[in-house]
C-alpha cells in the first residue's frame, strides 16, 4: 500500500499546513510517511506545493514524478500538476477557483484520470472561515480513502494548531467534516 499525493495552490491557502497534517495523521495511524515542502520565492503570490507519501513500507525517494493523487486549489496548479497525475489517478479540484469550462479545451489532459470537482472555497465559508478550505480538501480526501480515523485527525489537528491557534480547532474540524460529506454526496451522485 502506498499513496503519493501532491497538494498545490496559492501561497496562503494552507497547502503546507494541510500536507503536514496529512503526513502527521498518517504517522499516527502507523504508516511510514514523508512530507516534502517546496519553499522559497514560490511561497509569495505564486503557486506553492508539497509532496506527501504515506506507505506501509520504507520510503526511499521523497520526490514523486507521477503522483496517484492530487489536491488542486487554484487554476495555475491545475495546469502545472494535472499533466503529471498518473494515468488512473484521482484529483480533487477546487471548482470555485478552477472553472470547469476553462479547462474543457484541455480535456486531453484529464483523459484516463478521475477529476472530482468540489466547491472547496464555498464549503469552507459555510463551515465558518474561507481560510479553512485546506481542511475541506483533507476531509474530502480522507473521506474517499479512509487513511486515518476521526480520532487521529483530531489529534493531528490539535498538534498542528498548537496552543496559540487552539481556538481555530472547531472551525477546522467543521471544514473537515464539510469536505467529507461533500465528497460522499458527490460519489453517490455519480
Amino acid at each position: 500500500m502506498r499513496f503519493e499525493i501532491i497538494l498545490s495552490g496559492f501561497g496562503g491557502q494552507g497547502i503546507l499546513f494541510a500536507g503536514n497534517l496529512l503526513a502527521l495523521a498518517g504517522m499516527y495511524q502507523g504508516y511510514q510517511v514523508s512530507f516534502l515542502p517546496v519553499y522559497g520565492p514560490e511561497m509569495r503570490g505564486g503557486t506553492c506545493h508539497c509532496t506527501v507519501i504515506i506507505s506501509d513500507r520504507e520510503i526511499s525517494s521523497p520526490l514523486v514524478k507521477e503522483p496517484g493523487y492530487l489536491i488542486v486549489l487554484n487554476l495555475p496548479s491545475f495546469f502545472k500538476f494535472i499533466p503529471r497525475l498518473r494515468s488512473g489517478g484521482l484529483a480533487i479540484v477546487n471548482s470555485d477557483l478552477v472553472e470547469r469550462r476553462e479547462t474543457e479545451e484541455f480535456h486531453n489532459l484529464t483523459m484516463d484520470k478521475e477529476i472530482l470537482w468540489l466547491p472547496l472555497s464555498s464549503l469552507a465559508e459555510q463551515a465558518g472561515s474561507p481560510l479553512a478550505l485546506n481542511m475541506c480538501a483533507i476531509g474530502a480526501f480522507n473521506g474517499l480513502l479512509k487513511l486515518f480515523s476521526e480520532k487521529i485527525f483530531k489529534k493531528a489537528l490539535r498538534e498542528m494548531l498548537g496552543k496559540d491557534k487552539a481556538h481555530l480547532f472547531e472551525v477546522n474540524r467543521r471544514a473537515y467534516l464539510k469536505g467529507k460529506s461533500a465528497i460522499k454526496n458527490l460519489k453517490e451522485s455519480i
Binding site: 504517522m27 512530507f35 526511499s60
Partner: protein, 360 residues
C-alpha cells in the same frame, strides 16, 4: 514494542541529535535552509544550562566554537554553503589545534550565493580541504531523519575521541523534508579531557594550545601526527551496501541523492535488472576498501555509476578507490535540477546497455 515517533524536519533531527549528544554550546549566524537548527537550539540550550549565541558573523561564530572547545565544552555550529566558506579559516585552526567540535553544513546550490535548493556541491570542500593546510574533517553524511539524529549525537563522541572537528554534511532536501523520527537515548561516551583543556593552571603547570610552529622539523612532526590520526579514523568507516556482487551495475550515491537512487534500484531489481546500491555514510574516511571488495566479488567486472547533485566530485574518490577494478560512470546533476527515480532508472538502463564504458 512501541517507541515514540515524532514528525520532524531533517534539520530539527540534527538539532535534537546534538542535544542527545550532549552539546552544551551553540554559536551560529542565520542562513537558509538551516535556520531551524539555531531556532531549536535557542529554545532548548538555555533550559539545559547551555549557551546559545547568535554571533555577528560566521567568522565570529566559528571562533567562538574554537574558544568553547578549548575550555572543554561540547560546541557546535551550523550553516549552509556560503556561510561554511566564511568559516574555513577557523576550520583550519580547529584542525591544527586538535579541538573537538561538530560543524553542520546543510548544502545549498553554489558557487557564490547560488540558490536555496538542494546541492551536493560542497563535497570536495568537506572531504578534501575544509581549510588551508593539510587538515581533514571526519565527514558524516546522513540520508534520513533517524540517521541525522543518530550520527549528529555520535559526532560529539567521535570529535572528542580523535580531537578533531566532525562535519555533518546534509542538504536542503534532507533538511527541509519531514519524516518520522524515533526518539532513543543514544549511548554517547564522554571522553576524559582534563589532560589537555585550558581549565586554569591552578596547582599545575600552564598549557598552550597553538598552531604556529616556526621550527620546520616540529611542523613536519605535527603534520605527520595529524596524518596518523586520519588513518586511525578508518575504523569509523560506515556504508550501506545492497549488492550481492553478482550485479552488472552498482549505483554509488550519498545523502538525498542516495534516497532517489535507492528507489530507482528497488524498482529495477523488482523488474529483474542486475543492479546494486552502495552508499558511503562516512565521506572521509571514504569506504575505499569496501568498494574494492564489492568490485572484486564474484570475479565479475562491474560498472559503477556515481550519481551526485553536483558536476561530478565523489566520482573521483570512487575511481581512485577502485583503481581500475571497475568501469566508472558519472551521472552528475548540477544543483536545482532534481531528478526523479524514473529519470535515474532510464539512465541506469542506458548504462547497462553500453558495451564500452565511458571511463572517467
Amino acid at each position: 514494542m512501541k517507541s515514540k515517533r515524532i514528525l520532524v524536519k531533517g534539520v530539527e533531527a540534527i538539532a535534537l541529535g546534538a542535544l542527545a549528544g550532549g552539546c552544551n554550546c551553540y554559536f551560529g549566524y542565520p542562513i537558509t535552509p538551516q535556520n531551524e537548527i539555531p531556532e531549536l537550539m535557542s529554545v532548548e540550550l538555555p533550559k539545559r544550562g547551555g549557551v546559545f549565541l547568535q554571533a555577528e558573523s560566521e567568522t565570529s561564530a566559528i571562533n567562538m566554537v574554537l574558544g568553547a572547545s578549548a575550555v572543554g565544552a561540547r560546541a557546535m555550529t551550523s550553516s549552509s554553503s556560503p556561510g561554511i566558506s566564511l568559516m574555513s579559516e577557523g576550520f583550519s585552526y580547529l584542525i591544527a589545534l586538535e579541538l573537538p567540535c561538530v560543524i553542520v553544513n546543510v548544502m545549498r546550490g553554489g558557487p557564490g550565493l547560488g540558490g536555496i535548493e538542494a546541492s551536493q556541491g560542497d563535497y570536495f570542500q568537506a572531504v578534501k580541504a575544509p581549510g588551508h593546510g593539510d587538515g581533514k574533517f571526519l565527514v558524516l553524511a546522513p540520508y534520513s531523519c533517524n540517521e541525522a539524529y543518530e550520527l549528529t549525537a555520535k559526532a560529539f563522541e567521535l570529535a572528542e575521541k580523535y580531537r578533531n572537528p566532525v562535519m555533518i554534511l546534509s542538504d536542503a532536501i534532507l533538511g527541509q523534508m519531514k519524516e518520522p523520527l524515533t526518539l532513543k537515548s543514544p549511548k554517547i561516551k564522554t571522553l576524559e579531557k582534563d589532560d589537555w583543556i585550558l581549565s586554569g593552571a591552578k596547582d599545575r603547570p600552564g598549557r598552550v594550545i597553538k598552531s604556529l610552529f616556526l621550527d620546520s622539523a616540529e611542523l613536519a612532526e605535527r603534520n605527520l601526527k595529524l596524518k596518523q590520526k586520519y588513518q586511525k579514523m578508518e575504523v569509523e568507516i560506515k556504508f550501506e551496501r545492497l549488492a550481492e556482487g553478482s550485479e552488472e551495475l552498482i549505483i554509488v550515491a550519498f545523502g538525498s541523492m542516495a534516497r532517489i537512487c535507492k528507489e530507482a534500484v528497488f524498482n529495477l531489481r523488482a523488474r529483474g535488472y542486475p543492479v546494486g546500491f552502495f552508499r558511503p555514510i562516512t565521506l572521509f574516511p571514504f569506504p575505499r576498501k569496501a568498494l574494492c571488495e564489492l568490485a572484486e566479488s564474484h570475479q565479475k567486472r562491474k560498472k559503477f555509476l556515481v550519481v551526485e547533485l553536483n558536476c561530478g566530485q565523489m566520482v573521483e574518490d570512487v575511481a581512485s578507490a577502485l583503481c581500475g577494478k571497475g568501469d566508472i560512470l558519472s551521472l552528475a546533476y548540477p544543483p536545482s535540477v532534481l531528478p526523479f527515480p524514473e529519470d535515474i532508472e532510464r539512465e541506469i538502463i542506458k548504462c547497462l546497455n553500453l558495451s564500452t564504458s565511458l571511463n572517467v
